[in-house]
């Protein structure tokens, strides 16, 4: 399985290659786009201006292209807003053509209309179906085959069983297409499948998250909330826990959950001197064995705009976990070794896959 890491700037490319990343994804938003649409109609899902989460100017893409040429680790560009408005399709096609001219051939796309438009315009780029598109099942993958997909990125709430089933269906279809009894379809013609493995485990599903992400306001899902009864007089009946609204602390459930995300409530021994804690905001490392078994080809390590040092440590840890996987003969052995090597104290328990 290859490591696909988020890239926040060109500076990070060489460092992350040295750390063990196999490929990257990043955003490019030209000034002309930001000027016209600001963060109202963003080009990708990093819907902010005040953070270094995009690669920057076209000149930076040229630098990145030179780096890719030297190191051979490809970069995919994200154009994965959930939808666009009619005038934008032509504009995006022009941007993509320009990027293809300097060697960027693969694009992460969520909007079916954009995929359709690119194919209608005979733009022969690689399309990676974004994890932000919709529910991913084998019927959905079949549906989007007409857009000639190179890769399907599973969303954060696909189970490993889901993935295994979707991939098995696809491999069977490929075999059928190859018209051969033996599975001899060239590797490069096979569809790739990518799964989330580290960081940013969202509470809601990207494809179905339509609320604002912008500089001037926080995420809607982080607005304070309380668990309450629907009807007057009816009291919440909990099952496994004794729920008390912590009114004496003035904290809402949202506050408490933020604290869970905060390193201060995580086991002290598990974070390093800089406050780094592997998988603090989302982790699927202990599922690597099953992910491999299910046929996943690429592992998504999100975190564009995170501290570069932390991302580098994430990549090193993921690489280490993959090395452990390679030398493990069973899932049990893998988990034991992973725990000993990477989580000798505790993990975050923010699990992608349970």
């Amino acid at each position: 399985m290859k490591i696909t890491a988020g890239l926040g700037s060109t500076e990070e490319y060489e460092r992350f290659v040295q750390a063990g990343a196999d490929e990257f994804f990043c955003g490019y938003v030209p000034y002309g786009w930001s000027e016209k649409y600001g963060t109202v109609m963003p080009l990708n899902r990093r819907e902010v201006l005040s953070y270094n989460v995009q690669i920057g100017a076209f000149s930076e893409l040229e630098i990145l292209a030179a780096m890719v040429s030297e190191y051979g680790k490809p970069v995919h560009l994200t154009f994965n807003s959930l939808h666009y408005i009619p005038q934008q399709y032509l504009e995006i096609a022009e941007i993509i053509r320009k990027c293809m001219d300097i060697g960027f051939c693969s694009y992460i796309i969520a909007d079916p209309a954009l995929m359709l438009y690119l194919r209608e315009q005979k733009i022969d780029c690689e399309i990676h179906l974004s994890g932000e598109t919709a529910e991913v099942n084998h019927g959905m993958v079949d549906f989007f085959q007409k857009m000639r997909l190179k890769r399907v990125i599973f969303h954060r709430k696909n189970t490993i069983e889901d993935m295994r089933s979707v991939i098995a269906h696809q491999r069977a279809a490929e075999k059928e297409r190859s018209k051969l009894v033996q599975d001899v379809m060239p590797e490069q013609d096979k569809m790739e499948f990518e799964a989330f493995v580290l960081n940013e485990l969202c509470q809601f599903t990207g494809a179905f998250c339509n609320s604002l992400h912008c500089d001037e306001m926080g995420y809607l899902c982080r607005v304070p909330y309380h668990l309450r009864a629907v009807h007057e007089g009816k009291v919440q009946e909990s099952t496994k826990f004794d729920r008390e609204i912590p009114t004496e602390t003035g904290l809402t459930e949202a506050d408490l959950e933020k604290n869970i995300q905060n390193k201060t409530t995580l086991p002290e021994n598990s974070q390093d001197i800089d406050g780094y804690f592997c998988g603090k905001t989302g982790c699927g490392l202990c599922a690597l064995y099953q992910l491999k078994e299910s046929g996943i080809t690429h592992l998504k390590l999100v975190g564009r705009g995170n501290y570069t040092d932390f991302m580098e440590k994430d990549i090193r840890n993921l690489r280490k976990a993959l090395d452990i996987l390679e030398h493990s003969t069973s899932e049990k052995m893998f988990r034991q070794n992973l725990k000993r090597e990477l989580f000798p104290y505790e993990c975050s328990e923010n699990c992608y896959y349970k």
Binding site: E35, L49, L82, I85, E216
Partner: protein
């Protein structure tokens, strides 16, 4: 010459640059100049254009630098660094302004929570984030208390088609137990409206849930619901949500049975698709099962805080369905002619080519959905983030909800968050305006 005390790597979204026509990134910005880097040799530049973002106006201010000294600095492996020195006053002013705003923003992010940050930047009423209703019923009473009932009844009667949503188990049960009129009376009253509204009978029932796969009626109940709806001479829209991989087979089997049921009665029904696999499946039943594009596939920005959003909000009026090439694809390849829209607090333009084939759901609109249930996680683990796939759902959502600050007009129901467009109920003439704008069906969902 040297760049003095510059700020490194200001995000490109805040500070963009051009060397003549070439888009460049400013890697350092100081009072006396700036640095940039390129792969190419850049010794011959006529002018620079710098674009400074002003978050107060959500717009850029551009300045041209024509009076400058360009100096080649170090050559790195992949690029060359250049310094540009200028004494232009407009450059100084804009550089200082941006540096100040940027440092203020970082300070706010470091020191304030999201509400206070929003208050400082947009006027968002942070202190109101602490005011909650006691329960959802009370919250709904407040939302719906000022609805002009007569006007609402009038707007519903005048609508080309009026539909009602049956979207969760308690409602399915109730509808099965009572005749339509009694059911409607109870429905309105339970939601804080006078029973006089029950005189407005729906032409159609939406059966099922667009957002949660665990809220679809089980098979037997579904057919009982359809049978009763058919007997009561209401048209039927069967509502599906996303289809998880392990549900594909049972869904297909069920569609076959529904098709058979329709065949026996010589009718066709609509099926709301919120999954691309479902769109594909429905191609096999074109004669009797009419596909409709559901809310989860008809995407747009929706947020109860929209009025605080900076920038040109009129851009929100359209989405991908306003693009003719996409419409054509959906019509010709997917047999989709009808779209489900939501009243979400701002004006929308509905596709002209489909005038008369647009349903509007009101007053609630979905903003966020999770296939794993946040409410279940809250009720069992005490933490909304501790989600996992639910196999056996005890329907905590029948008794519990997530309440949000009153001023936001939103609630967390089952696996989703919803905003409520109180204006569309408070001013029912807005419903008439929707009809004039291309909506031919109003779909009410109050619970």
């Amino acid at each position: 010459m040297k760049i003095i005390n510059g700020i490194h790597m200001i995000p490109f979204g805040l500070l963009a640059g051009f060397a003549d026509d070439k888009e460049i990134r400013i890697t350092e910005l100081a009072r006396n100049g700036f640095q940039f880097r390129t792969v190419q040799d850049m010794t011959d530049v006529g002018s620079f254009r710098l674009c400074f973002y002003d978050d107060r106006k959500a717009a850029y201010r551009e300045i041209f630098i024509t009076d400058f000294i360009l100096q080649k600095e170090q050559k790195e492996k992949f690029y060359t660094v250049y310094s540009v020195f200028t004494k232009q006053e407009d450059f100084k002013k804009e550089s200082q302004g941006l540096a100040f705003r940027y440092s203020q923003y970082i300070l706010l992010k470091m020191e304030e929570d999201d509400s206070l940050l929003a208050e400082k930047l947009t006027g968002y009423p942070a202190e109101e984030d602490e005011i909650f209703a006691d329960n959802l019923e009370q919250q709904k009473k407040e939302w719906f208390q000022d609805v002009p009932v007569e006007k609402l009844a009038g707007a519903l009667k005048e609508a080309p088609e009026f539909a009602l949503e049956l979207d969760h188990p308690a409602l399915y049960e109730k509808y099965l137990k009572e005749d339509l009129f009694v059911f409607l009376k109870d429905y309105w009253v339970r939601n804080g409206f006078p029973e006089v509204l029950s005189e407005v009978a729906p032409d159609r029932l939406y059966i099922g849930n667009q957002f949660c796969h665990l809220l679809l009626p089980e098979e037997k109940k579904l057919f009982r619901l359809m049978e009763k709806t058919y007997r009561e001479k209401c048209r039927i829209t069967l509502v599906y949500t996303y289809i998880r991989e392990d549900m594909l087979k049972t869904t297909e089997d069920l569609l076959e049975k529904v098709d058979k049921w329709c065949k026996e009665r010589q009718i066709s029904i609509e099926v709301v698709a919120n999954d691309w696999a479902m769109v594909e499946m429905l191609k096999n039943y074109q004669e009797r099962l009419v596909p409709v594009m559901g809310t989860l596939l008809n995407k747009r920005k929706k947020d109860p805080r929209m009025k605080y959003k900076k920038g040109d909000r009129s851009l929100y009026e359209e989405n991908s369905l306003n693009a003719e090439f996409y419409n054509k694809f959906l019509r010709e390849e997917c047999n989709i002619w009808r779209y489900e829209w939501e009243s979400c607090g701002y004006a929308q333009k509905f596709p002209n080519v489909l005038k008369g084939r647009n349903s509007l759901h009101f007053p609630f609109y979905q903003t966020n959905t999770s296939q794993y249930c946040p409410l279940y996680a809250m009720c069992t683990e005490g933490k909304r983030g501790k989600q996992e796939l639910i196999r056996m759902c005890p329907h905590f959502c029948e008794q519990n909800a997530l309440l949000y600050p009153k001023h936001l007009h939103m609630a967390g129901r089952y696996n989703s968050l919803f905003g409520v467009d109180t204006e569309v109920l408070g001013s029912p003439e807005k419903l008439r305006a929707y009809v004039e704008a291309g909506i031919d069906r109003l779909v009410l969902g109050l619970s």
